[in-house]
Every structure is written in C-alpha cells, then in structure tokens.
C-alpha cells in the first residue's frame, strides 16, 4: 500500500458509490443483458481502476478508464474467456418492443445479443452514451468509417429484430449514463 492509500480508498469509494450503477448498466448492454457477466466485468474494471487510480485521475478520468476496460473486455476476443458461456441468440425475437416492461426489456436484450460484440458496442456507445463517431473509433480501436458502418448495420438489425421503427437519438442530445 502506498502512503496515500487512505485518500485513494476514499476517492475510489466515492466513485464507486456514485458511478457503479452507470457502469453496471453499460456492462449490461455490452453483455446483451447477461447480468452475471455484467457484474463480473464491472468488478474487474473497478479492480483495475483502483490499481491505476492515481494515473487515471491525472489522465483520462476514472469513468472513461472504466468504460474503456468494459468495452475492451467485450470486443477483444482474446480477453473474452467469459464469452464461452455467452448464449447465442441468433433467433430473432418475435415480440415488438416498446419500452417499460420486463418483456420488452428482455426482447431488446435478445436483439442486442444477436449483434456481434463490436457492433453492439458501437451501437451502445454511439446511441446510448452519446459518443461521437471519432470517440467511438478511438475507444473501439477502429476507423471512423467502421464505426459508421457498424452502427448503421446494427441499427438495421435491431429494427428487424424488434419489428419497430427505432429512431436514433440526435447526436447533440445528452448522453444517458
């Protein structure tokens, strides 16, 4: 432990209290609704965050760092040992999704599971967190063109799966966290 471990603990604890729910929600979407995997991912991300706390604070900020870990864990095949237990849901849900009910939520999660992990991450980052294309590309480690094509195809897929006319939120609208 370092000499400032007490301060680190307090700052980290405050961050966890404030931001853990948001990270868990992000992980839930990135893992297509697998809540156990989402919890696992968040625990791993927070553990790494604690270790790197001082550096992260100086550089990108704790939430951005934690998000990056979550996204990397999902899109990087080599780090996704847990994916073996991920259930493929290529079968399309036949329930049209509105929002609000458990059934609707499950339908959306099933639809997300039918997307590839990178495509799913692109859709979530772009249309839920409100990242712009450049931010998505930087986080996903790909070109902006790839982000655009992935999000477009992802939206098409979701529309087909959910039998609904999904409307992407305006790029200028505030992100959900």
């Amino acid at each position: 432990m370092d000499g400032s471990s007490g301060a680190r603990d307090e700052e980290f604890r405050a961050f966890v209290v404030a931001r853990r729910p948001a990270l868990l929600r992000l992980a839930t979407l990135l893992s297509a609704g697998d809540e156990h995997l989402a919890e696992d991912l968040v625990q791993t991300a927070l553990t790494r965050l604690y270790v790197a706390w001082r550096r992260v604070e100086r550089e990108q900020g704790p939430e951005a760092y934690a998000r990056r870990i979550l996204v990397n864990a999902v899109v990087d095949e080599r780090r996704r040992a847990w994916r073996r237990s991920e259930t493929s849901r290529a079968d399309l849900p036949e329930v049209a999704a509105a929002t609000g009910t458990v059934e609707d939520r499950d339908a959306v999660r099933s639809a997300l599971a039918a997307l590839g992990p990178r495509m799913r991450a692109a859709v979530v980052l772009r249309h839920w967190l409100g990242y712009d294309v450049a931010e998505c590309a930087a986080l996903l480690g790909c070109s902006e063109g790839t982000v655009k094509s992935q999000t477009a195809r992802g939206l098409d897929r979701l529309r087909a799966l959910l039998s609904d006319e999904l409307t992407p939120a305006p790029a200028t609208s505030s992100p959900r966290r």
Partner: protein, 354 residues
C-alpha cells in the same frame, strides 16, 4: 416510432445504488490487486518475498508514494510491547536502499521478540514527537482470516477484513511467520505513536473445505493477473478436503501464478479435482512447455529455477507451496499434463464426497 435511446435505457436495467457491502468488496478487491501488482513489479520484493517464505521472518521496508523517513526503534528480545531503550534503525525505501538480507531459519531477527508462539515486532517512535497529531493514524494489519491480534496489541486494527490497509505516509513492513504460512502486512505511519504490534502465530486449523468455493475465490482474486490466460475450473463434482483454508488458498495461488508465468498467452489453465482412495487430488494444469522429468522434484527446492526464456520471479513459489502443504499434511508433486504442459497436484485427505 420508438426512440432508440429509450429502448436501450430500458434494457440497461435499474439504477439502484450499490450497497455498502458491494462498495466494500470493490475496495477490498482493489487493495488486493494493488498489493499483488507491487509485489510483482518489485524485483527486490519478489526476491525478498521468496527469502521470507524460505527463511522465516523478514522485515523489509516498502516503497510508497512518499518515501518513508521514519526511524523505527527496535528493542531487543523480550515481551511484546517492551519499552527497552530503542536502538534506532532507519527503514530505507526499496528503490533507494540496499536489499535486506534473508534471515536464516531458526534465527530470531533483530527487533523481534518471541514468547511462546507469538512473534512480536515492537515499534516505537524515534526522535521527539511533540504534536499529538503525530500519534494519530492507524496501524493496520493484513491478516489471514483466522488470525487475530494478540492480547495487548491495542494499536492493531483488525476490524476490517484481510486487505484493509489505510495509513498515510506509511512505512510498510512485510512479515512472514517462520513456516511461511501467514502473510502479514503492517503499515506504520511516519510519525509512530504506538508501542507495539504483536502478531500471533497460529497452528494450522484443518477443517473441511469446499474446494469449488475456495478455488473460485482464488481465481477471482487473481483475475487482474490473468491477462491473456484463461482459467477453467473443470469438475462438476463437489468435494470437501481437510485443509487449513488460508494455507490451501495460498497454495492454489502459487500454482496458478506459476502457470501464468510459464504458460504462453492465450492458453488455458485448468483446475480440477478428483477423489482417489479417500484422497482428494487437486490439480492445476497448464499448456506450457512442461517440466522435464529430471526437474520435477528439484523445482520444489528453494531458488531452483530452470533456465528458460520465460523464467521470472523469485524461484521460491513452488517451494513455499510445498512447505505450506506439508504444514497441514498435504503432499504436492508435479506430473506431465495431457496433452502438453505441467500439472501440479495437491493431495489432501477427503472430508466429504458428494
């Protein structure tokens, strides 16, 4: 027409705040990972860790964000909390000072007093401390779950779970009991206001241990170290072995960490167990290069390391694991894994087979 953001927002789940227990667990996992990282990064730390496990007790300073300037006064042998005239000894941060020498087995290190099974390190302030603030702070000890502070160790805060460390401007001292079975971390603040920290030494407490729970706990704690290795816990059968849980936990940690060191990335480390004639065999297999037959016993000797390009670490981990096993009646050996790699087996008496 439905707003995609609303759809995703609904699918993301609720926004309930984490419970205090969840937050505490997050902090605890972080602390453990940080400690592990520091041990791993500090070559001297690795060497000393090995030396400590091999030799018994060792007291070493630990680097911190602010190097310790503390003078630690260490009286000679006597009861814990003794107030003999101190002989000041400067603790030097790792990265600035000479590497302390290992302590020979059976030799009571300077500054330690022995009374029965208790090993005590007495810390007293050196120099004049004039401000009451100098005496404030916490001296926190990381203890194995079944350890407690010895009587009279009023300055030790063991209320938290193992891993609880909260000291400002601390000087860290690593302490290993002579059989290497306990790892205790004591942090003393720069201005020392306590008269003692007594560490009790306990005999192995052998109890039925659910292997799955213990192995899962170890794997979870090592996740930050896994990198591109995958750990698979193979068996479905539930077995209980007679073991001292903290010691068995450390053995499994040593074996998994060993596999991480020597098996190439993107390979699988498999942990399994089976019941053979009343004996539980807990195996840790990797897909590394394996260990030649002539080395399968030598690798358990202290500082025995094969000269491989992947060799890292102190060369003491397997020796420590074997010693830990022997201290609670377990056996440890190495055999070839199938189809390739090394397999380390811990044989323990079975408690219950379901």
């Amino acid at each position: 027409m439905t707003d995609l953001r609303d759809v995703l927002d609904s699918a993301a789940g609720d926004t309930a705040s984490p419970t205090p227990d969840v937050v505490a667990d997050d902090v605890r996992r972080g602390r453990r990972a940080l400690l592990r990282q520091r041990y791993a990064r500090t070559g001297a730390g690795l060497l000393l860790t090995g030396a400590a496990v091999a030799a018994g007790l060792v007291v070493i300073p630990q680097l911190g964000d602010q190097p310790a300037q503390t003078q630690v006064a260490i009286p000679g042998a006597g009861g814990s909390g003794a107030s003999a005239q101190p002989a000041a000894v400067a603790l030097v941060p790792f990265d600035q000072g000479p590497t302390p020498k290992p302590i020979s087995p059976g030799l009571v290190p300077e500054g330690w007093s022995v009374s029965g099974n208790e090993y005590a390190l007495v810390i007293a302030p050196a120099g004049n401390t004039t401000s009451p603030d100098d005496f404030q702070g916490k001296l926190v000890v990381m203890l194995s779950p079944d350890q407690t502070a010895a009587p009279g160790a009023t300055s030790i805060d063991v209320a938290g779970a193992p891993g609880t460390v909260s000291v400002e401007h601390g000087t860290q001292i690593l302490v290993y009991t002579p059989d290497g079975s306990r790892q205790v971390v004591v942090q003393a603040p720069a201005a020392l206001g306590w008269d003692g920290a007594t560490l009790a030494r306990f005999a192995a407490a052998v109890t039925p241990v659910d292997l799955r729970s213990l192995v899962e706990e170890v794997v979870m704690s090592l996740r930050p170290l896994l990198g591109r290795h995958e750990v698979v816990i193979a068996p479905a059968i539930r077995l209980h072995a007679l073991a001292d849980p903290p010691r068995l936990r450390q053995i499994v940690e040593h074996l998994v960490e060993n596999a991480i060191k020597y098996a190439p990335p993107d390979t699988t480390i498999t942990i399994d167990w089976e019941l053979v004639e009343g004996v539980v065999r807990l195996g840790v297999s990797d897909e590394g290069p394996g260990i030649p037959e002539e080395w399968r016993e030598r690798i358990f000797e202290p500082y025995a390391r094969r000269d491989t390009h992947t060799a890292r670490g102190s060369g003491i981990g397997l020796y420590a694991a074997k010693r830990l096993g022997e201290s609670m009646g377990a056996r440890l050996w190495c055999e070839p894994a199938r189809p390739t790699g090394a397999r380390f087996v811990v044989a323990l008496p079975a408690a219950v087979a379901v």
